[in-house]
Symmetry: C2
Subunit: 223 residues, 2 copies
């Protein structure tokens, strides 16, 4: 059964969409947005069996959303390009706009942790330029190492209470983490405010910053 060129192309598009059509794959993509990773690391973080993660990753690869490379006996996956983050952002915006269910979950879990508006990327750039704020990266150390905002301080969320002294009490803190639905930044802002600090959250997260073409500091300590 053959079909016209349009049907064939639409079927390809549908294949890409179907690749995004599973929560586990979206979570894998979120992690890959932080930087490239081995299969085992991804499987552990997302809570999948190795074989299952491998198969999901291959599905993403077939759809052209991720690429991989071999280094020794490890295979590292990465996003195919920054456009993937854009597509994910478009998907998120669409879902936020028209799905009551998303809004309900957001309110229940996130809204009360976010009484203030998030800071836009443009605002953050401006304030950093003026030396007014401390940028705080609350992701795990290895993700920070794979790339982070210029001048950001890395204090993973679970160490924040013990390392409060590293943050100048007089400066506002702007925290960020993996993305729009990563709870780390929400929690960090809440924790800092509980200590009487001035703290806000960067809109979205690291992958969106990078996809917007803004400067990123990469650590050269790998390899």
């Amino acid at each position: 059964m053959s079909m016209g060129p349009k049907q064939a192309i639409l079927a390809e598009f549908a294949g890409v969409a179907r690749a995004l059509g599973h929560a586990h794959r979206l979570e894998l993509l979120e992690h890959l947005g932080q930087g490239e990773r081995g299969v085992d690391a991804l499987a552990t973080r997302v809570g999948l069996s190795l074989a299952n993660a491998s198969q999901h990753l291959q599905q993403l690869r077939r759809a052209g959303l991720v690429a991989n490379r071999r280094d020794g006996k490890f295979i590292y996956y990465r996003l195919a390009d920054d456009g993937v983050t854009d597509l994910l952002t478009a998907l998120r915006h669409q879902a936020e706009r028209n799905l009551a269910e998303v809004d309900r979950i957001r309110r229940g879990y996130f809204a009360d942790r976010d009484s203030f508006e998030p800071v836009s990327r443009e605002d953050l750039l401006e304030r950093v330029g003026a030396g007014l704020v401390t940028v705080l990266d609350v992701r795990p150390q290895d993700e920070f190492g794979q790339g982070h905002l210029p001048g950001a301080v890395n204090i993973p969320l679970d160490e924040l209470q013990d390392r409060l002294a590293e943050l100048d009490p007089g400066r506002e803190v702007i925290a960020y983490c993996r993305g729009a639905y990563c709870v780390f930044a929400f929690e960090a802002v809440a924790a800092l405010r509980a200590q009487g600090r001035k703290a806000r959250r960067l809109v979205d997260g690291f992958p969106e910053w990078k996809a917007a073409g803004l400067p990123v500091t990469a650590c050269r300590c790998r390899f």
Copy 2:
């Protein structure tokens, strides 16, 4: 089996993506991008049984991508908002960038009909403002009636040969149709060039023009 807030939200996102994950639904969305339509009209155009089209449309509605209204015994579907077109555009761009298969089909069927670059929306606006070009809408009459570019002339593709006289031979023609993979505009440009006319194609199509926030002329002859 419960899951955290992030998993719940990602599952919702995945639901939206899965709704895009079928060629028939993408084609339905393409048609809905031209304006609202009844179920039967959509089913006919896409070549689906009525029940099948209805079920696909309901799937799109559950995902928040389309909305509907009842008028008498007809039910008219429409895109939920212009953001849907943006999401479809993002999906198309991603697929075009990283899927060799799409490129292969494009080259085979479209490339040789498109030896010249398409005209951007900005260029078209400028040239229309300067009165330099004729804008040609080659979609069927009813789609033209539901909304079209300001000042566009409507000659459906199958009538083009007979109605060539309506186009000023001295002016360049810029043709458009439903979208990036609608063949009408390609065919029209090829036909006009075969007659020795100057003709080019607008990039993308009508829904993308509208989603870009550019002016649209709607016909008030419905209802």
